[in-house]
Every structure is written in structure tokens, then in C-alpha cells.
């Protein structure tokens, strides 16, 4: 009996004992630490199915995939949220997922690709250079608009990025330069170094210790396309309603990270887990994604909140690299990067 039918029977009250066995009390979503949906996000799912959703979120995305690979077949939960396109090939190679791609709701075309039929794209987020409007104004500089601008001497000593060796946005930025310049990426990084780029270990070191908006002295920082709406939402005191966001995005510098969710192979309740993946791309859940996870919904037709409509720029032509190529070349690229930059 399929879980859907079983659940329906259970709900209408005429299911037998066997039906109850197929309906779990709870399902566990395994994810990284940044997966923080609002507390009531799964109420609709629980109301519909009777299943309580628990979240086991720990570590970063790299740790998530590493432990999922280690526990493939004996997973720590039922559904995984948060493997991205820089790590997807590794997760697929480790046979982490029970193949299931949800078609319960239409998903944006631009997110399809690797992982077809095995996982479901659930959100996207662009890693981009951000700029501090006030600080650039004070220097009499226009914001840069492209990767090429960043090596312009006018912006000398103004940029801080995190290292691809130790941070996921750092890797995304390295991939952006590889997508943009091909084999010429090493020359580009030499010019960045000549232009006095500062490389630090992690995103928060860059954003909260070096970025001029938060007390540092560099007005250009590697962050996300959704950081400006976050700066508005979390501004204190609140900004005037018609004020622009204090930070902006260098739209030509963006690498697109796509996050996927999938049913973990070897879980006890694969049927119910599929229902949960369906729910993850339900417009009701997806509409919560922007302001709690600061990423863009994967489902088409989900209206963005005002903070995103006003302050998150559309990135029409994000840079990208094939997941398979990332997995095979990553170590070489990082070693080459280390030799060029450090």
C-alpha cells in the first residue's frame, strides 16, 4: 500500500493496524546548521499527514555531505536538505539518496540538471561581491559592476574575500572566476593580488571583521545576493521605508549555488519521506524560504516578500560550473589557487 493511500486511510479513520505501521509518527530532516525555517513551517504538513517533522541540523554543508556519505544506507534521518551544486556529485557518487525527484509542484527550469531523478532542487542563492554604499560614496567611487572592475586600480585595497580552502562562498567565488575567465583565471587572481585583495578564512571573518559596514575598512566583500535584504530586515534602528539598502551587489560577479533535497537511502519510511520532499517545494513552504533562509524559492510562481523585491537584485546571468567538473577539478584548482595567491 502506498503511503499516500495509507495516510488517507488513517486520516479518515478506517485504517487497520497494518496502515498505522506504514505511517511514522515523525520524520527527521537532516541538514546543515543554517537550515532554520520558522517554527510553524511544518504545521501544514503535520495537519495533513499526522507526521511531526524534526530537524537534525549540524555543521556546514561540507560536513553534512561528508557524514551523509559515511552513513549512506544507514542514514541519520529520512530527508536531507542542503546539498548544493558544488557538493552534489560527491553525494551522488556515495549513493546517499533513494532516487526521487518531486513533481508535486513546478520547479524553475534553470535549476534542473545534474541530479535529475535523484534529488529535487529546493532553493538557489547567488554568491556575489557586495559593496558598502556609504563607504564607496565617501571615497567618491561608483560601485563596481563586474569581475573585471575588481582588478581596476581605482578599487585597489578595497576587496576582502574568504578562502576557497576553508569556506563555501570562497569556493563559489573561485568557481565564478573560473566560469568567467576559463584558463585565464590564474592571471585574473594574480591581478587581484596585485590589486591588494585580502583573503581571510571564513565568511564571518570577512563580513564582520573586515567589511566597512561592520567596523572593518574594506567596502567590498564576498557575500550573497540576499545580504542586502538581510541588512534591511536586521537594521537597527530600522531604515526609512523608501531608503535603499545600505549594501548593494556587484551583479556581474555572482556564482549560483543551487540546494537540493532528497530521500535518504535506507531510511525507515521512504514513502512518507517522499511526501515530505513534496511539501518542501509546496508554495506554502517555499514562500517562507526567503526571509528565514535568505535564499530564493525553487518553485515557480512563489511571490517574493517585499524586502526581496526591493533589495535583492535579479541576477539574470549567474556564473556556473558543471557539478561533475567541480568534483573532479576541485583539488587541482584549490592547489593552483594556493600557489598563485598565498
Amino acid at each position: 500500500m502506498s503511503a499516500v493511500a495509507g495516510l488517507t486511510l488513517a486520516l479518515v479513520g478506517c485504517g487497520g493496524e497494518a496502515v498505522d505501521e506504514t505511517t511514522p509518527d515523525r520524520l527527521v530532516i537532516v541538514s546543515h546548521e543554517s537550515f532554520t525555517p520558522p517554527e510553524n513551517a511544518f504545521e501544514a504538513f503535520t495537519a495533513e499527514t499526522g507526521i511531526i517533522v524534526e530537524i537534525a541540523a549540524a555543521g556546514d554543508a561540507g560536513e553534512l555531505v561528508a557524514r551523509a556519505a559515511l552513513t549512506a544506507g544507514r542514514p541519520e534521518g529520512d530527508v536531507l536538505w542542503g546539498v548544493d551544486n558544488t557538493l552534489l556529485t560527491r553525494a551522488l557518487a556515495a549513493d546517499v539518496f533513494e532516487p526521487y525527484e518531486s513533481t508535486a509542484h513546478p520547479v524553475r527550469d534553470d535549476l534542473a540538471g545534474t541530479g535529475r531523478g535523484v534529488v529535487t532542487p529546493v532553493d538557489s542563492g547567488d554568491v556575489c561581491i557586495n559593496h558598502d554604499r556609504a563607504a564607496l560614496d565617501a571615497l567618491g567611487l561608483e560601485p563596481p559592476t563586474s569581475l573585471d572592475d575588481l582588478v581596476d586600480p581605482r578599487y585597489r585595497g578595497l576587496l576582502v574575500v574568504s578562502s576557497p580552502e576553508t569556506s563555501s562562498p570562497g569556493l563559489a567565488f573561485l568557481l565564478a572566476t573560473i566560469a568567467e575567465f576559463g584558463d585565464g583565471w590564474t592571471d585574473y587572481w594574480r591581478r587581484l593580488v596585485d590589486n591588494d585583495v585580502l583573503v581571510v578564512s571564513g565568511w564571518s571573518d570577512a563580513y564582520y571583521a573586515e567589511f566597512s559596514r561592520h567596523g572593518g575598512d574594506r567596502p567590498l566583500v564576498l557575500s550573497y545576493a540576499t545580504s542586502p535584504p538581510a541588512e534591511v530586515i536586521f537594521a537597527d534602528p530600522p531604515l526609512a521605508d523608501d531608503a535603499p539598502a545600505p549594501t548593494g551587489v556587484v551583479t556581474g560577479s555572482c556564482f549560483r549555488q543551487i540546494e537540493y533535497a532528497g530521500v535518504l537511502r535506507g531510511g525507515d519510511h521512504p514513502e512518507a519521506a517522499r511526501l515530505l520532499v513534496d511539501f518542501l517545494i509546496d508554495p506554502a513552504f517555499q514562500s517562507l524560504v526567503p526571509e528565514s533562509l535568505f535564499v530564493l524559492p525553487a518553485t515557480t510562481g512563489v511571490e517574493l516578500p517585499e524586502s526581496f523585491r526591493r533589495h535583492a537584485p535579479d541576477i539574470d546571468e549567474p556564473l556556473s560550473v558543471e557539478p561533475d567538473r567541480i568534483e573532479t577539478e576541485r583539488e587541482n584548482w584549490i592547489d593552483t589557487w594556493r600557489q598563485v595567491v598565498l
Binding site: 546548521e33 543554517s34 532554520t36 520558522p38 517554527e39 524534526e54 530537524i55 537534525a56 541540523a57 549540524a58 555543521g59 556546514d60 561540507g62 560536513e63 561528508a66 557524514r67 556519505a69 559515511l70 552513513t71 544507514r74 541519520e76 560527491r90 578562502s163 580552502e165 576553508t166 569556493l171 583573503v199 581571510v200 578564512s201 571564513g202 565568511w203 564571518s204 571573518d205 563580513y207 564582520y208 571583521a209 561592520h214 567596523g215 557575500s223 550573497y224 545580504s227 538581510a230 541588512e231 530586515i233 536586521f234 537594521a235 537597527d236 534602528p237 517562507l288 526571509e291 528565514s292 535568505f294 516578500p305 524586502s307 568534483e327 576541485r330 583539488e331 584549490i334 592547489d335 598565498l342
Partner: protein, 524 residues
Amino acid sequence: MEAGRPLSGRARSLGGPAWPAAALVTLLVVVPMLVLASRSVRGGDIVEVWSRPGVGEAVRFSLVIGLASTFVTLVAAAGPTVVIGRRRFRGRSVALAILTAPFVLPTVVVGSAFLALLPDHLDRTIWAVLAAHAFFNTSVVIRQVVPLLESVDEGLLEAARTLGAGPWRAWTSVALPIVRPALLSAAGLVFLLSATSFGVVRILGGPSRATVDVEIHRRAVLLGDLSGATILAVAQTLVVAAVVAVAARRRPPAIRLARSGLARDLPLAGPWAHVTIVVSIAIVVVPLAALVASSLRVGGNWSIAGWRMLLGLEPLGGPSALRVDVAGALRRSLVIALGAVLLATPLGVGAAVAAARDSRWRVISMLPAAVSAIVVGFGIVVTYDEGFLDWRGSVWLVPAVHASVALPFVTRVVEPLVAALPHGPVEAAATLGANRPTTWRLVRLPMLRPAITTAAAFSGALSLGEFGATAFLARTDSRTLPVLVDLLVGRSGERPFAAAMAASTLLFVITFALVLGVERRRPT
């Protein structure tokens, strides 16, 4: 009857009291590591990994930073250790609590404070790393050496002076031999902590520097080279175990004290004692004050919004009204710390007693200080995954792991004092008919109590501040304060950052209160 036997006789080296500690370390460190190795290591990598990019540099850097940090830390700790160990003055317990506080602060917080305070040209240099290691580890030296230093009989020093030794000579010939075991053991621990440093090196060392632990994490998580990472982790553990074992064999027998502590009621005499304490405290307080100040600033203005968010009086912001469950995180942190203390203290004391008899037992209790948190985390996740052994997500897993992390500190604090326990009172008790448990309860434990309370406070503080293993093993509903801080500083915006600084300050205040509370109650 028990007491006639020498306390440190090799005849009784089966290590009875060390077994519970050995069991904990075996279950949570050794077995997971072996299982992980058997699952992930590819044979060829055992040779190849050493020539992969970054590995050789990491090994060299670990050795260099370990040695240099130990030296700097010992120099920095010498003054305050001597003054606190030999002088009794108003505010002594407060001073001790303040000097212990850095050890438990989240690395990310101390890292930011150092970045803010150090001149720009020193940021992300080896000097910044050295300064931070000294800042963190000075308390390790103070904590280990002070209990023994306190017990140096002032009469002995006086006798030496009466016999014509100058103050310096009296110190080096009388006090130094007594504290030497504690000093060496502290130095060894500081070396180990610095050589396996993770967070400090990542933040303050800049992207070009990696210890072996940083390289292990990079291989396992970023490059997906779990095989190489596990080999490095196993090798590091084996090397440390071997060095500890060899050092244990070479250790000179501890000097036995005629009687325990005496004559600490000296006034805080001389300008140097004042200056030493004031300067040491200032070095610790300045970054902490910067932290407190940053918790009271939001977006460049003075504000208590960070604290209001922390206390749940206002949401982080936005229509989705994110709230910070700080009360929950605080409660969990305290419960976990209590569990860790209750587990680590008796186990650590047992291990210390065994190690005092036969120092080879020290290897067991030192192992947790030598293993990479991420490797233990991976190991636990793959090892305990089935049936009644499915411990992933168990409530007691995090306190138990914290206890194993605290074990080296407990044993290192207690062992020198056990080794120095005088025979006399024990034999007297035995002569009067006391059996073994009674002798322990009435004679040995009271003499060890200063070291035990110190060790308990230290393990509680360590547990409160532990991040690496907790972040890996904790789940959404079991986040501790340090994990919450990390989560908050991972968000863009003024308000989450203010809440993070308030949470860090709270962590520091609670730790401080805990250590101070224990010091105040400590029998002197």
C-alpha cells in the same frame, strides 16, 4: 590492610581506578577512530597522503606553532602563577576566575576581539596566533601549577634562606623541584593544545597557515579526502600517545611533601607582585571588555537591543520574526556542563590516581587532547548507528564527549597532587584501623580537594565553551550557547551580530560566575 603499600608502587600498576576513564576514551575516541579508519582508509594513501599539497606544511607549522606557543605561554604565565600560588590577597579568587575565563570563550569571539585590538599589520600573522594561544592557555599553566605551588612549605623556603641561599636560589632549589612535574605536564598540554589548534589558526593565522587539525578538516570536508584525513588523524594520535608514553617513563619520581599546604597567608607584598597581577588581569580584561562593549552596540550606537533579543523580549527582526531560543540554549549548556563535570571529575581523578602510580596510564587520559574533533565526530556517527548502539542524537552523547575532552585537564590538575600526597596521615589512619574507603574519604580526598574542585570547575568551563565536537553532534533541539553564537555570526545584519555578542558575553559571565563560585567555596 591497604595503607602499608606505597602509593606509587609499580607493583600495583594494573590501574584499577583508571578503568572507567579508559572505557570512556575507548568508547568515544579509540573505537570510533578505528571504525572510521577501517571504513574510509585506502591502503595506498598511507604513504601517498604525506606528499599531497598542504600536508607537509601543516606538519611543520604544527610543530613550530606548538613549540613557540608553549614558550610564550610559559613566560606569560610565570608571573601570575607565582603571585597567585604564593600570596594571599583580597580578590585572589576573582583574579583566578578572570585569568581562567579566556580558556572557555568561543574562539570566534576571541578571534574577533584580537583582530579589533591588534594593529592591522599584525592581523593574520603568526604573532597574532601566538598572542591568542598565550591568552587562551595561560590559565592552563596557572591552574596546574598553583595547587602544587600552594603546597610548598614556607618553612622549607625559610630554611633554605637561613642556610644562606638567596631568594632566587631558595626558589630554584626548593620550590622548583616540587612544582616541576606540574610545570612539565602543563607545558606538554599547552604544546598539545597549540599544535592541534583549530579555530584560532583559522581566524587569526590567515588562510595560508594550517595545523594538522586544520588540514584534516580541509581534507575531510572540503576536498572529500576522508581517507587522507583519517590517516593524518590516526598518525597524529599515535605520535602523541608515543610521546606521552616515552615522557612518562623518563619522568623523575615526584617529591613527596612532608605535609600539605602551609603559610599562604602572606600579604601581597612588594610592588612587583601588584604589577604582575594588574598587568596579567589587564591583558585578559581588555579583550573581554571589548566583547562586553560590542554586546551593547548595535549599528554604531549604544543599545541594549542585543540583550533584549537574547532574552526573547524582541525578535531578531523581519516579518518572519526569527527568535533566538537563548533560554533553551543556556539551559542545555548548563545541563550538559553539569553532566560533563559529574562524569569527568571522578573518572579523571581515578585516572590521575592510576597515573601517579604508573605514569604509563597517562596515555589514556591524554588521548582526547590529541585527536581532531571532526574525526571523532565522523567516527561516532559511523560507529554507533544501529539498534541499541544508535547513539546519534542521544541526549547523553554531548556531555560524554565533553567529559572525554575534559579528562586530560582533570588528570593533569589532580595527578601532581596525588603523587605528592604525604604517606604519614594515610599510614596513621590505617594504623588506627581505617579501611581503604575510609582512608580515602577521611584522609586522601580532603587533601586532594583543592585540586578536585579546580578540576571540576575547569571541566564545567570547558564544556560550556566547547564548540567543535558540539557543533558536529548537537542537533537543532540541542544547540548550546557556543553553537548559537556561531549560528548568529553566520547571518548578515546588525541585529544578529549584536545578539551574538550578547550571547558570547553571557557565556563569559556564566563561566566566570561558575569558576568564581568554586574558588570561593574552595577550602584553603
